[in-house]
Amino acid sequence: MTLLAEAELQSFVLLRLGDRRFAVAAKEIAELVAPSRVFRFPHHTQEIEGVILRRGRIVPVCDVAEKLIERKLTSRRFYLIAQRRYAAQNEWIAIPVSGECELIHAEMTPPSESDAPHVAGWLAHAGDVIEVLNLAALTPGPGAQHRAGSAATPPGALQPQEARR
């Protein structure tokens, strides 16, 4: 392998959702953890099923299986903790996966115009062609305008801290 070819290789984490495998750029992955208790409370963001506590942080759990394989996962082996980029900051999200994850080095083919927005590119690996996921397009984030205002928040109240990374 030439130096040029090595330079074009990137690291990806392969994840399994049901029978299919997908990839996420390794630089966007924080860790792989065992499933823990999901805390649920009322909200209207369908893709988010609740939050988990991880290293003192509150991390939303985002099940992307329904979007990618058109059914919910029946069994969860791990949560892949990934960084989700927003305009001004990054936040952790937990993605349930149904099997082991694998770190690989491969060359990514850029997406074509006909690919869905959540496709960041394509990998050829072990005889499979694998979608590289664009988490920013796949998982929910701000878009709608929300009312500002905290007139009734009491003086001296704690200000929420952004969950930055």
Binding site: F41, T45, P60, G141, A151, P155, G156, L158
Partner: protein, 212 residues
């Protein structure tokens, strides 16, 4: 040569919260946001019935001193299973009183995490943030998030039509004036001293664990 003195660690700021249940779900609210805690009887006996087809979560209107308040059923607001509310929180600096199942306990928190940006719908108006308490995660509600300006307008119109014109009109103006004053405060004006704790109405408090 002067010795370098170690900087004094800043004491952790804390905030007192009330943990309460509505529709069976645990929520938290800053105790400084709650002006009074009353039994539901005080609402049903003295309140007027309000009926707006698009706002079923509000069924009562009460006059508390100079303030006119719409009573919001918290379980209905959050689309939770219906339960039998027992208490009413009168929320400061809003025109809202909140029907809740009951108070779980009070606690102090030192950290409030912003609602993750993945939550991107109405819940951003409902919650100030999330807090981790006793290995559990509890949403901390935003007192002003129960009724939008449009909902208040529609409810006021309903009350005007039902003949409570003078009361509602005067109180809307008073409440708007109060909110206007509050929004003009700058950060430097905000007093760090904790606001008065809620007034637990004597004789009406069904929870023996809560001080009266």
């Amino acid at each position: 040569m002067r010795p370098v003195l170690p900087s004094k660690p800043q004491p952790l700021r804390s905030e007192q919260i009330i943990l309460f249940r509505a529709g069976g779900q645990l929520f938290a609210i800053s105790s400084a946001s709650v002006q009074e805690v009353r039994s539901i009887d005080s609402v049903t006996s003295s309140g007027k019935i309000v009926s707006h087809p698009d706002i079923p979560k509000v069924q009562h209107f009460v006059q508390r001193g100079e303030a006119s308040l719409y009573v919001v059923n918290a379980a209905m607001h959050f689309a939770l299973p219906p339960t039998t509310p027992a208490l009413v929180f009168v929320l400061r600096r809003t025109r809202t009183a909140l029907l809740v199942d009951g108070i779980e306990r009070m606690a102090n928190i030192t950290r409030l995490q912003a609602l993750p940006l993945s939550f991107c719908h109405e819940e951003r108006d409902w919650y100030r943030g999330l807090t981790a308490l006793d290995q559990s995660v509890i949403p901390v509600i935003k007192p002003e998030g129960f009724l939008t300006a449009d909902e208040l307008f529609a409810l006021d119109a309903t009350m005007l039509q039902s003949g409570a014109k003078d009361s509602v009109g005067a109180q809307s103006a008073a409440a708007d004036a109060q909110l206007g004053t509050m929004t003009t405060l700058s950060d430097s004006d905000v007093d760090d001293a904790p606001a008065d704790p809620p007034d637990f109405a004597s004789g009406d408090n069904p929870d023996p664990g809560v001080p009266q």
